[in-house]
Assembly symmetry: C2
Homo-oligomer: 338 residues x 2
């Protein structure tokens, strides 16, 4: 079964890849064996992250980039990551609308990820989905994210080139919602640059880049700012050229190797984290002991901090467990404790 799936994906089978990505998004444990086997076919794609607040025109930019890459004969995979989609269904709807544009081009593969589980797992799902597109043989993979939250900063750190998109006039404080992500930007795009406040946006970006500089991931690279009007296809070729320039700069010296090790570190850490939470945390919170401790907390015979210590000791480190038997405080007044 695993070998058959792997074979189909390596041969570019869209249905099989789509199903696997959906299973990854749903955090189906069985996907792990397939991903293990697929991993030998990865490592060839060039991965570009495109990040920005909702409404800055990310999809339009990505669509134009895809058009130009396709004109040059490149195969492209797109992952749209949207954990903030209101209620479920948003991402899938977006998929269907966007698929239409490239629906006749079988070398363009677009998928959305919406992982919004109780404990995240978004970074892990995205990195695994990138592996699938990579194994399919896509030469370029574009990962589109909203850029909020630590997970998306981690994704930006794992791609080869991170493009950050802003628009004039949306308000610095609104766009700053994705701050923290500035530090990982390689190329900045001011989209809708025909708007009156475009120059102000550039000034703002320059100051943010200056502030973030010491923390930039690639020391040898000076982040650049590109003016674009994606709807009119202005600035897209300049953006693709700049990405190519950044790609070449990374091959100098040991930067590429260091970057790869960083990505591997983030990916392995995220994987262990998901598994710890998925398996260990869910085992604890799904246990009858956990409910007993909740009873004790409700009766105020146990505080949650002590409950946490005791549950961890018992269920991770194998010590004995006896909830509520020994209330952890006898006095309620601090003076009596002195």
């Amino acid at each position: 079964m695993v070998n058959n799936t792997v074979k189909k994906i390596v041969n570019g089978d869209v249905m099989t890849a789509a199903k696997l990505i959906r299973d990854i998004d749903d955090q189906v444990p069985e996907t792990r064996e397939i991903l293990k086997a697929l991993h030998g076919y990865t490592g060839k794609a060039y991965i570009i992250g495109v990040t920005g607040a909702p409404g800055v025109g990310k999809s339009t930019i990505v669509d134009q980039m895809v058009r130009d890459l396709r004109l040059n004969g490149k195969t492209v995979g797109i992952l749209a990551v949207d954990p903030t989609s209101p209620f479920s269904g948003g991402a899938i709807l977006g998929d269907r609308i966007r698929m239409q544009r490239h629906s006749l081009d079988k070398e363009v593969f677009i998928r959305s990820l919406a992982t919004r589980g109780q404990f995240g797992g978004l970074t892990q799902s995205t990195l695994s989905a990138i592996d699938v597109l990579d194994a399919m043989g896509k030469e370029y993979i574009i990962v589109e994210t909203v850029g909020v939250g630590q997970g998306e900063v981690d994704i930006a750190r794992c791609v080869h080139t991170t493009v950050i998109v802003v628009v004039p006039g949306l308000g610095d404080h609104v766009q700053a919602i994705k701050a923290g992500i500035f530090e990982v930007g390689d190329i900045f795009v001011v989209n809708k640059a025909d708007r009156p406040e475009a120059e102000r946006a550039v000034t703002y970006l320059r100051s943010m880049i200056g502030l973030a500089k010491k923390e930039f991931k690639n020391e040898g690279w000076e982040p650049s700012i590109i003016m674009a009007e994606a709807l009119n296809n202005k600035g897209i070729i300049e953006l693709l050229n700049e990405i190519e320039k950044h790609r070449r700069s990374k091959k100098v010296g040991d930067i590429l190797v260091a970057g790869k090790r960083d990505s591997a570190r983030i990916q392995l850490t995220e994987m262990i984290k998901s598994r710890l939470i998925e398996e260990t945390l869910n085992r604890i919170t799904g246990s009858p002991e956990f409910e007993k401790y909740l009873d004790c907390i409700m009766e105020r015979t146990k505080d949650p901090y002590t409950a946490c210590d005791e549950l961890l000791s018992a269920m991770v480190f194998g010590l004995s467990l006896d909830p509520c038997s020994a209330p952890n405080r006898t006095s309620n007044h601090p003076d009596e404790k002195d």
Copy 2:
């Protein structure tokens, strides 16, 4: 030491409380013993969450609420949670600016949390900081959040009344960044209601509330919409009255008890999650074995999925570990595997 700190906090000592909250924000492990001892003094405050995108006027609304609560002789604690602050320092700067307004009123205590660690922990820090303000004897605790990310949705589920703030004209797609949070809103405020698009915002909110309805946390409560102009102090008394109405509605039947158990569940789960990540994950990723596995992944003699399995087996479940000794694949072509 612990007893002395507890005593000072229960007696309302601002310096001690401020230091403890800073230590909680920095995830200092020693805070746990103090929090255990403090827990016996908690459970009396009424906790209000105020959530909305940056720029909707949350701070102004909170400031006006505080003014009115103080006029009625109530003591108030404010927690401003901002994990998206660009680079470090943002939250602290915000603190100083906002402290000035109430600086002469020692019954108002304002603190910011900015936890932005590699693995979150924001929910955990916020819930612990709420415990500190509660133990200080604050009658009302207002928790201000940007409303992005699962962590903030969890916080909203833990407070007694969640107020969601929007403004007309910011654009639905921008405000939707905090969607998912709609489901946990008890009261919605349209701030800057003098703007021309206010009616449209109400229509949008009604549709979102309708969509979210089946998932609302309090089945017996119909979420209400309040028009406000916080800068002109319009709508604030209406908001406080509505919060009081919601507070009374929760005391009917078992809703309050069920809500408390839900909060306890989230708090205990978050605590276990932080500890698992803090202790177990950091122990794994800080180990020499982890680095060896990274070497293997770089050499492509091991895939990250297998590395994850092996590290977890060894370092959590005590099995033996031998990185890179047995490469997990011998063939790189799927046809050979069949």
